[in-house]
Subunit: 376 residues, 2 copies
Amino acid sequence: MSATVADPDPTSLGPPAPRTDRPVPVADRVEAELAAFLDQRTAQLTGISADLSVLAEVARAAVLNGGKRLRPTFAYWGWRCVSPAGAAGEDELVRAAAGLELLHACALVHDDMMDASDTRRGQPAAHVRFGRFLGEQGWAGNARSFGAAGAILLGDLLLSWSEELFTAAIGCLPSDRARAATAQFGQMRTEVVAGQFLDMLAQSRGAFDPAEALRVIEFKTSKYTVQRPLLVGAAAAGGSPELISVLSDYGVLVGEAFQLRDDLLGVFGDPTRTGKPAGDDLREGKRTLLVALAYQQADPAQRELLRAGIGDPQLSGTGVDRLREVLTATGAHQQVEQRILARAGEAIRRLADGRLQPDAAQALTALARAASHRTS
Amino acid sequence: MSATVADPDPTSLGPPAPRTDRPVPVADRVEAELAAFLDQRTAQLTGISADLSVLAEVARAAVLNGGKRLRPTFAYWGWRCVSPAGAAGEDELVRAAAGLELLHACALVHDDMMDASDTRRGQPAAHVRFGRFLGEQGWAGNARSFGAAGAILLGDLLLSWSEELFTAAIGCLPSDRARAATAQFGQMRTEVVAGQFLDMLAQSRGAFDPAEALRVIEFKTSKYTVQRPLLVGAAAAGGSPELISVLSDYGVLVGEAFQLRDDLLGVFGDPTRTGKPAGDDLREGKRTLLVALAYQQADPAQRELLRAGIGDPQLSGTGVDRLREVLTATGAHQQVEQRILARAGEAIRRLADGRLQPDAAQALTALARAASHRTS
């Protein structure tokens, strides 16, 4: 996610660099923790057998792939709502936050395998890398099933590692704070699976239901990407119940704005900026709030277009254009735009109730704007 | 695994019931912990959405499915090497040990999906249950891909839950012991993935290599099923370095005996007792020590039979008989039998060095015999 207004550095998602006391942006610190952790684990795996070097290499590629480190960034700013920059425990919190990114790497590796998505950020997905490895060896065996099995195992490994990195780091903080942060992390892991499962149900059911679309967003994006990471950080810093409540609301609001923006970009975005072919979300049949609202407000002819076009993998460019017209003519496009701005605005206003450290309030304001205004 | 000699209760794998101070066998205590944990998590999931009840139901079916609870049983006896029955912390240890079983449930759910094995202990596998659920709803959507995705997500959930149950329970013990047990649990999780990956490599490579077969056994079975669970328990009880060393050796030896017996039963066992069609391991092309030794010692005509038959999914009953003859004529069958007895005997002798609680020594002796002598 890149910012258009307040965030000149799309990779850090932090506030403008000169304003922080630390010269190193949080995403870079997370990157360094991840690289160090993967070095250790590569040694562990190759210590078991040199044959495991391919597993270690694909793990490294899956984790150190230029991700935006959104979840660790929110965890950091959750912590910084309470603690000034450089306070005791900050390095441990950043390390624990890097653990959230290993969880996300697991989710992406498994997701790409389930969806048969062969690239991730322009690079081969993990299942593709394992399949290619098999081909290069000139062995018998089916490259596709080897690739799929390798990706499942790698995801399981990343999920275990995620918890190990998180727990070891958070355990260096006072035990009541560590316990509270760990409980948030546990919620995050159950909720992301719940959200993904609800999304599968919604797509299989094939209904156009705004309430269902919002519920999927709440669990699959808002809580997983924004709310729980923020609360991990705030709980680790010993945040008050009032702060937890404020960040909880902010997280759900900003997460929703972020996802709704993503949905709009998937249909109306500039493919040269988003990196995704325009209309792919329509072809995949995603049950977004955008299409659910359009369907609800459509006349019979428009409904027929939506029913026939959404989820049609062969949908032409003209077909995509026609659906875009329906999404706009029904008012759904405009409604979603308004909802994004309202959610982001409400989130920013809510921050005033939390007695945040000033630079954290500034950073979270910038993040809310970036989530809602981004163009890629 | 059921016992033939010293263990009259094939489901508990403990020593004869009248000898213990506790009336409830460890497997039953584990079962009760798992049921209570799943009740909590069912409430958590259905609290998110009633639509998640299917996820909770398949989770319950995958965990409470009549499994032998081998890993918790070994964890319990590892603990009992140090602590007399009913010592403080035993209930917490049993609860943590139940966490190992959730890890195993994850492994089975993911394994069955990767191997497209549609039944598990005579019941539908998780991916089959999810696929059927979709069919029953009468929705669009592909039952097979829905089933596969559901199984991946469920396995991820079970893996997270495994750690949560383990960590919450082990955290009730003194912190140095909790840390040592947690380190063993971490090793267990990385090693089982490593073992499964090495197994995939071995099968894809298609070589007949005794050393490779033994290495797969070491990580995929010995450490995962016996050694690490024992060490989790012993570390949780504050076992001495000498005890850890003894149990470490015992675990590798008994695990190997267990797996080699499994390999023999897969080829020579009575299908009415093993519950698996005879010869399926040969059709699947498993690279066992048995076939690797046979290949090494075969004459050219026998080698040709092995090369052609092993891994041939269409292999006939006569073909299986012919391979059995080769496995026996080359001496491999007998060698593996001898190795099983030698490993189990060595494991039992090694126990004498550990100054174990007498009833734990007796139980581990019975378990070693059961692992090596079983017929199903």
